[in-house]
């Protein structure tokens, strides 16, 4: 069963790669935000997996819960930021720099 969790974990990790690509390439900031949000959820899944592998889910579940609760705050703050700043005043969200 542990092996399964390890493979499942690796699978989730591999699925992070497209997200990382999205984060790196953009093109807009909001794309990146979405990808970050998804990575946040994946992290809490991975934490539970790691807990299962170690056989101590009772320990790991607490901060998986923290992640689930707090990941929201980051996304919300970014969304609020975009809401609050005038589009013409800010660094253009529409640009693909780099």
């Amino acid at each position: 069963m542990e092996d399964f969790f390890i493979f499942a974990g690796i699978a989730v990790f591999v699925l992070m790669l497209p997200l990382l690509y999205r984060i790196a390439s953009g093109p807009t900031t909001i794309d990146r935000l979405v990808a970050v949000n998804v990575i946040g959820t994946k992290t809490s899944v991975l934490l539970i997996f790691i807990g299962s592998i170690f056989g101590r889910v009772d320990m790991f579940v607490d901060f998986a819960l923290t992640y689930a609760l707090l990941n929201f705050i980051g996304s919300l703050a970014a969304a609020r930021y975009l809401n609050r700043v005038n589009p013409d005043q800010q660094f253009s969200n529409l640009q693909t720099k780099e």
């Binding site: 499942a8 699925l15 990808a35 949000n37 539970i48 579940v61 819960l65 689930a68």
Partner: protein, 113 residues
């Protein structure tokens, strides 16, 4: 044993949804569609995975394990609650910023913005 099989099935299904979400984020043409894939796919897959693991916890039925399983389900519930909300907030931010949704008719050069 049966528990394990159920668990494996559920988790595998969850990962399948993850794959969908990841593909969506990778391949979809614009940001609304990507967000769509991510929000929907992830919420579903997390529900499945956490359900599977919660079940897996119950291979020995004790109070402590039940507590842990409950917590895991709680996490799933919270993610179900927060993930759409944050998707909504981000979507709204993008919409108010004036990003127009992608349609097939626009040229490729504009589709990315």
């Amino acid at each position: 044993m049966i528990l394990n099989i159920i668990c494996i099935t559920l988790v595998s299904l969850g990962i399948l949804f993850f794959i969908g979400g990841a593909l969506g984020i990778l391949r979809f043409p614009d940001y609304y569609t990507r967000m769509h894939a991510a929000g929907k796919g992830d919420t579903m897959s997390i529900l499945l995975i956490f359900g599977g693991i919660a079940l897996y916890q119950m291979h020995e039925v004790t109070v402590a394990n039940a507590l842990v399983a409950g917590k895991i389900l709680f996490i799933a519930a919270f993610i179900m609650l927060t993930s759409p909300t944050s998707t909504h907030a981000l979507m709204r931010a993008g919409y108010e910023e004036g990003i127009r949704p992608w349609t097939r008719k626009t040229k490729k050069g504009q589709s990315d913005s």
